[in-house]
Each structure stands twice: as structure tokens, then as C-alpha cells.
Symmetry: C2
Subunit: 210 residues, 2 copies
DNA sequence: GCGGTTACGGAACAAACGTTCCATAACGTG
DNA sequence: CACGTTATGGAACGTTTGTTCCGTAACCGC
């Protein structure tokens, strides 16, 4: 028909998600957004409707990515605990690398969920979904005798997920690997499990007195 | 000498801390601040220097309060674990009551620490202090044979403290008591401990299949 | 290569931002 | 009661906020 758009919708949303993740909602002005995304005001409002609408889209896109990463990380072979440990290790890699910033989910929950009902509703739905998904995996792993549970599958799932999210929060103040690794190990201890698959992982961060 | 101030400095700082805690730094405009604190622009700038300076003061005041609450909660008799459990219960009370908002510390870490070096520096110092304080208590409790540790005292202390902070984050999305209680219980499981002091607390959130 | 359609660039908007300034009001002191 | 001092109220400042609007440029189909 006519002149085609010079940008890709989904790419732009993801780029915006990155900005919101690093700088927050209020910390990211539309001007800065336009510069960084490389489009002008008119195109922006025609395509996305406004800052709020773009934020919601970015949040949803980020959530979808996060969920897919989780689902994939828990899909293959191996015990549940080993797979979840792998996900935490991967998360720590991201957090310790340059510009290590926590997930947009965390930021949205802390800064926007209190003010914007739509954000709260979305996060509530999203996190519930994740908890159920992980809870199911935990339940079947427990039935299989892979791990012993001290609590119901869903609370354990919630604990693991929020533990993972708060890793991003821990990383804000102490970025060294050892700290994050030990924190992750303690999160995993919520599932005493028989083994992680690895041969001899003694249940200790370091020797009692070094 | 001359006309006395119509407000109390420390009271005002604490009130400001409350506003920042609920609405964040950027979400709280100076105008709104002045209305809520009941003072005019000239007094405000004469007394506090500006928004940034007041924020830092509010953060420090909040931190001091939080630290004192922690120190006091861990001071009396009883096992360490029981005392920390009491603190978590108290925190959950606050979170489930009206306007249940998480601590300013959490908000500052997530939204401002990335941009403002002074905030990051303060939080880093503050949290390190808390970790050492709690770590010492854990160490002596372990020597006393009160609890068994799977990790070094300091990582355990960090885990407990960040676990407590992230409770405020969990509460953002699910405010019901049972959820928060089970989360707290799993945080406490980082110290398997011989007993909480209570008689028969079975190590299970609910019966395996109800 | 022309016409119709759509995206783009950027100036312009009102509102809100943090901050400054000064005339006025209120107090302690003599 | 009057003076010196200091806090207060509120208008005003220059920027920046999110958003709108319109003239122009770019592309597709014929």
C-alpha cells in the first residue's frame, strides 16, 4: 500500500524493556526512549499509544521471555533440583556480567505495582502462573522420590522463584560471585533432595573453619 | 533569638521517609512533599537543602530505625532462631496491615542504587553492618550448639536478612498471611536448628495430602 | 513515473518538575 | 513596646515532562 515502517514492533518493545529494566519507568523519559529506540514522537504514539501502553507491552514481553527461559531450563533430562540450580547459575552469570541489572519483573513489582493496578494485576497473574508451573514439576519430582519436601510443592515453588528474583536484588549491593553463589545454594536448600546429580557436593559453603 | 520553627526536624524526616517508602523517589514530587509535611518551599530548602538531601536523610533515619528494631528483637533471651522467627512474624503483621508497604531500604536498592552512587554506598555500608551483626549472633548461637549450620555464619545472616526484605516484595503480589507465613518458615529453614523453643512444630506447612 | 497512502521529523503545547527569591509575619530579647 | 532576627507564604523561574499536530518524505501499486 504505502510507506513501510522503518522499525520492527517486537524488537522495539524488547529494546524498551531493556531501558525500563535499567532505569525504571519514571527514570526513562519519552525523549530518551525515542532517541534510544530511534523513532520520532509521531511514529511512537501512532504505534504504541503512549508511554504507559508501551510499558505494559514491554513488561509482558519480558515476562514471556522469562517464562520461556524458565520452561526451557526445566524441560530436559536430569533432576529438578539440578535443573533449577543450572538456572540460578545462568542468572548469576547475567548478574555478574556488565550492566548486571535485575529483571523488569522485580522492578515493576517494587516501584509500579503499588500505584498502577494494571501492573499489579499482570504481575499477580504472571507469578501465579510461574508458581503453578514450577509447583507441578516439584510435585512430580517428589512423587518420583527425587527430593524430600518440608513443605507443600507450591510454597516451595514460590520460595524458589522469589529467591531467584531476589538474587537480582542481592546483586545490586554485592556483585561478587561467591556471595551470589552461596545465596543460590541456600535457596536450593529448600529442597534437601538426595543428590544434585553431581558426585560429592558436601553440604557446606566452605570448610567450617578455614 | 528569633522566630522558632513550626516543625520538628526529625519528625519531618520520618514523615518524608514514609512518603518515599510508599511512592518512591521520583513518584514523590516536592509539591506533594510540602503539602504532606505541612511546610512551605522556603522552609523546606532552608532546612533540608533539597529533595536529594532530604531523601538521603530519610533513608538514613529509616535505616537507623530498622537496625534498632533488629537489634532489639535479637537481644532478649531465647534461641536465635526463635527470636528471628519473632521478627519475621512482626514484619508479616506490618505487611498484612493496612498500607502494607515494604521497607524503604528495599525500594532504595531497587530503584535508586543503580543511578545514585551515594545511595548505593550507603546501602552497601548499612547492609554489611547488619550482616555482620546478625552473623556474629549466628556464630555464637552455633558455638552454643543451638543450631546446626550448613553454611558459614555470614552467608546465613545475609540469606536471612535478604529473605526478610524480600518478604516485602512477596507481599506486594500476595498479601494473605498463609503465603507469607510459609515463606518465612522456609527462610528460617536455612537454620535447621534443634528446636525453636516451641514444643511440637512438625516440619511441614500442612499435612502431605489434606 | 504518477497518485494514493502512510510513516517520519520536529516544532509546539500545557502541565508539572525542582528550585529561588522577596516581602511579610512571628517570635525572643532588651 | 520596639528592635533584630529568622521562619513563612506564595509568586515566579527555567527545564523537562508526556503528548499533539502538521507539513514533508518515502514507499507500493498501477
Amino acid at each position: 500500500m504505502a510507506r513501510p515502517k522503518a522499525f520492527d514492533h517486537d524488537d522495539t518493545v524488547l529494546k524498551a524493556a531493556g531501558l525500563f529494566r535499567r532505569q525504571g519507568y519514571e527514570g526513562t523519559s519519552v525523549r530518551h526512549l525515542l532517541d534510544e529506540l530511534g523513532l520520532s514522537a509521531s511514529s511512537f504514539y501512532a504505534e504504541f499509544g503512549g508511554k504507559d501502553a508501551l510499558y505494559m507491552e514491554a513488561l509482558a514481553a519480558h515476562a514471556a521471555l522469562e517464562r520461556e527461559q524458565l520452561r526451557q531450563g526445566l524441560s530436559g533430562p536430569g533432576t529438578f533440583k539440578a535443573k533449577f540450580a543450572g538456572l540460578l547459575a545462568q542468572l548469576i552469570d547475567e548478574l555478574t556480567s556488565v550492566g548486571g541489572t535485575s529483571s523488569l519483573t522485580l522492578r515493576a513489582a517494587v516501584e509500579e505495582a503499588g500505584t498502577k493496578p494494571e501492573v499489579l494485576a499482570f504481575l499477580s497473574r504472571y507469578l501465579t502462573e510461574l508458581i503453578e508451573m514450577v509447583g507441578d514439576q516439584i510435585a512430580t519430582a517428589a512423587e518420583r522420590g527425587e527430593l524430600r519436601l518440608r513443605h507443600q510443592p507450591q510454597p516451595v515453588a514460590r520460595f524458589l522463584l522469589f529467591g531467584a528474583l531476589s538474587l537480582g536484588f542481592v546483586a545490586k549491593v554485592s556483585t561478587d560471585r561467591a556471595t551470589l553463589d552461596s545465596y543460590a545454594a541456600m535457596v536450593l536448600d529448600a529442597m534437601p533432595g538426595h543428590a544434585t546429580g553431581l558426585p560429592g557436593t558436601p553440604h557446606q559453603t566452605q570448610p567450617p573453619d578455614a
